[in-house]
């Protein structure tokens, strides 16, 4: 009972702390943006480019370095502790600080120390340049991906820096607003495959090469359904930009229900989640690694070079969680009730409103990361032909059908009501399928026996 209250308190504190963190990020972005303007701009004028530049630098530091790096490295610990909780175990608790295992967090330091101090073992016949390049290539694109994820809503710069009142400038927790939006996402996500396949190729090892080949064929296949699954959302929100998508998700489409991606595109959500999962190369799609059959594309890497590949996988989880939150789970909209965001915007100080929204986004992101880890520990690895069948025979046709149905629904009813109704029907059907507890009739499996005798 003590633990129950302690854990509940801890969860509430974490949510509050995340909101506070988002507020601090806003302050950093606002101050750096305004500071750039004061330092480099002409007196008395507001230069939008300078403000934008400063805010972007602050966002790179806070979102990419702090949020992404810390959530990625904490996920390595979470993978152990959460899997332990799922499997009724205790999990890593041998490193203690003052007698307390601290939820396994000291393992972070121990892991880093181990990775950094390990002996470097390199194959003699490796293609040296590509061999060294591969970990970077699998590490860097993940960071670039997070650039377009809108973590918080744009607020007036005047709420943060007093001098900027009335300047009309905005700051948002988003590194870059790119017009191509989701296309940028697909482009950079495709670059990831170079890291893995180069690692497999350059190591001069047959098993590593096998892993690299598996990785490239799997990732290229799933890229197709990954792209097609988002076409429906692009049509529904009429934009490619993630921040505009999130803003559009606050509008009511069906009574009080807002047009969250999950409501408008439940099929797209399932397909995107599955293909994105395959892109992260984790179980049940961990064929490229397949530690029990081939050791995987990073077989010949040791020390921190392996660590980078390992960490890149967890970063992919975090980025994927961010993208799915922005596109399907309403982004920074706190509640799935239309109007709540507007009410908050009117009744709270802009900074407090932004902090709440940013914190909610981070919470949703954590929930999605948790869901990915749950599935990773739930399902066994697929066979290779099953993976390709799932992609080409199930996900791809479903994604195409989804596009046609979505397009027809939008064409018939541009107010999205029809699309939302279809979404509700889909969700209800899935819920019934999940909830139905029918047992196969007993006679069905008695019959073959009778026929056999």
């Amino acid at each position: 009972v003590k633990r129950f209250f302690g854990m509940s308190l801890a969860l509430v504190l974490i949510v509050v702390a995340l909101m506070g963190l988002a507020g601090v990020f806003y302050l950093a972005a606002g101050w750096l943006g305004w500071g750039f303007n004061l330092a480099f701009g002409r007196d008395g004028t507001v230069d939008p480019a300078l403000v934008h530049f400063g805010a972007s630098i602050a966002n790179v530091l806070t979102l990419m370095m702090v949020v992404l790096m810390i959530s990625g490295s904490l996920l390595t610990v979470a993978e152990r502790k959460w899997s332990a909780l799922l499997q009724n175990r205790i999990g890593a608790n041998r490193i203690t600080i003052g007698g307390s295992p601290m939820g396994g967090i000291p393992y972070l330091a121990a892991d880093a120390l181990k990775m950094l101090t390990k002996e470097r073992v390199e194959p003699v016949a490796a293609t040296r340049f590509l061999y060294e390049l591969a970990p970077l290539l699998s590490f860097a694109p993940v960071f670039c991906l997070f650039a377009i994820v809108p973590v918080g809503p744009p607020i007036d710069l005047g709420a943060i820096a007093a001098g900027a009142v009335g300047s009309g400038q905005h700051v948002a927790l988003q590194v870059a607003k790119i017009d191509t939006g989701l296309l940028y996402l697909f482009a950079i996500a495709s670059l990831q495959v170079y890291g893995t396949s180069l690692a497999g190729w350059a190591s001069n090892n047959k098993l590593a090469l096998l892993g690299g080949v598996r990785a490239s064929s799997q990732m290229i296949s799933y890229e197709v359904s990954l792209g097609l699954s988002l076409v429906g959302t692009m049509m529904a929100y009429r934009t490619l930009q993630l921040d505009e998508m999130v803003a559009a998700q606050g509008q009511a489409v069906l009574g009080l229900a807002p047009g969250w991606g999950l409501l408008l595109q439940p099929v797209g959500f399932l397909i995107f989640f599955t293909s994105g999962f395959a892109e992260t190369k984790r179980a049940p799609f961990d064929l490229p690694e397949g530690e029990s059959e081939i050791v995987g594309y990073f077989l010949e890497y040791s020390g921190m070079k392996f660590g980078m590949m390992f960490l890149a996988e967890f970063l992919e989880i975090a980025v994927f969680a961010g993208v799915i939150t922005a596109v399907f789970l309403g982004g920074w909209h706190p509640l799935p009730i239309a109007g709540v965001t507007e009410w908050l915007r009117l009744n709270l100080h802009p900074l407090a409103f932004a902090a709440v929204c940013g914190g909610v986004f981070l919470v949703k992101m954590i929930v999605m990361m948790w869901l990915q880890l749950v599935i990773r520990w739930l399902l066994p690895r697929f066979r290779y032909d099953q993976i390709q069948q799932l992609c080409w025979k199930i996900l791809l046709p479903a994604a195409l059908a989804n596009i046609f149905v979505t397009g027809a629904a939008i064409l018939l009813d541009p107010s999205l009501k029809l699309l939302a109704t279809l979404g509700v029907i889909t969700i209800v059907v899935v819920a019934v399928l999940v909830g139905a507890t029918g047992k196969a009739p007993a006679a069905a499996h008695a019959e073959p026996h009778a026929a056999g005798h």
Binding site: K2, N88, L378, V434, H445
Partner: protein, 238 residues
């Protein structure tokens, strides 16, 4: 607990795969939150831990810190049973050394200087590495002077020498006196008078069965566990 799945072909819902995955997520999530919100019961008798809603599903025993006590019949590390005056009950009769199939017991007898009747082991050495843990020495002993009721297995060590236990390391545990003990019946002069009185006060009849109270673990009952297993088998049959 293992349970049987009936070997039927998958129904339509199961063939669709996705709904089953979502159900699986539900199952696993229930475990996750039960284990997150409720702490593990550290009762070493795992079957006696409370189960169900409001309790952790965790069945771990944190081994080096928490140990499951061995059952009463367990033959653990030897000990020489002491008397109340700190001397061993052993009278150096060599019956254990004679019965030992591994020949791992070495005894050197000596006499108490102030008591010409009784002997005691000046050296009593057991090589735990040679011991085959058969328990014959315990059964051979006419004085209940050697027992294997410590409930410990041989501890790990870095040297072989550390596994050779001499009388100083073997003599430990609760002292025991019996009414039939010869040194009590003839008021042996080697024992101080006050100790003799204490020993006589504590003396019990000689046991007729081998198991004794030192090996009993509180809350542990072989009979209860066996009855539970019988019940389970009964239910499984029905």
């Amino acid at each position: 607990m293992p349970y049987q799945l009936d070997n039927r072909p998958p129904d339509l819902r199961e063939q669709m795969y996705f709904p089953e995955i979502i159900r699986g997520i539900g199952t696993v999530t229930a475990h996750f939150f039960r284990n997150l919100f409720f702490s593990r019961d550290a009762n070493p008798d795992i079957l006696a831990r409370p189960r169900g809603l409001g309790y952790s599903d965790n069945v771990t025993l944190q081994y080096p810190e928490e140990k499951q006590p061995y059952p009463p019949g367990y033959r653990g590390l030897h000990r020489l049973v002491p008397r109340e005056d700190g001397k061993p009950r052993c009278v150096a009769c060599y019956m254990c050394a004679t019965a030992c199939p591994a020949q791992c017991i070495y005894i050197e007898a000596a006499e108490y200087p102030d008591d010409p009747v009784e002997k005691y082991p000046a050296r009593f050495v057991i090589d735990e590495l040679r011991c085959v843990v058969c328990g014959f020495c315990v059964e051979a002993c006419p004085k209940d002077a050697i027992r294997m009721d410590t409930g410990e297995h041989a501890p790990p060590s870095y040297t072989r020498e550390a596994q050779v236990l001499d009388e100083k390391r073997l003599l430990r545990g609760e002292p025991v006196s019996y009414q039939s003990d010869p040194w009590l019946r003839r008021d042996a002069p080697s024992i101080p008078a006050d100790k003799l009185a204490e020993m006589k006060a504590n003396a019990r009849p000689f046991p007729s069965v081998a198991t004794d109270e030192y090996a009993q673990t509180p809350g542990f009952s072989v009979r209860a566990l066996a009855a539970e297993a019988r019940d389970r088998a009964e239910r499984a049959r029905r």
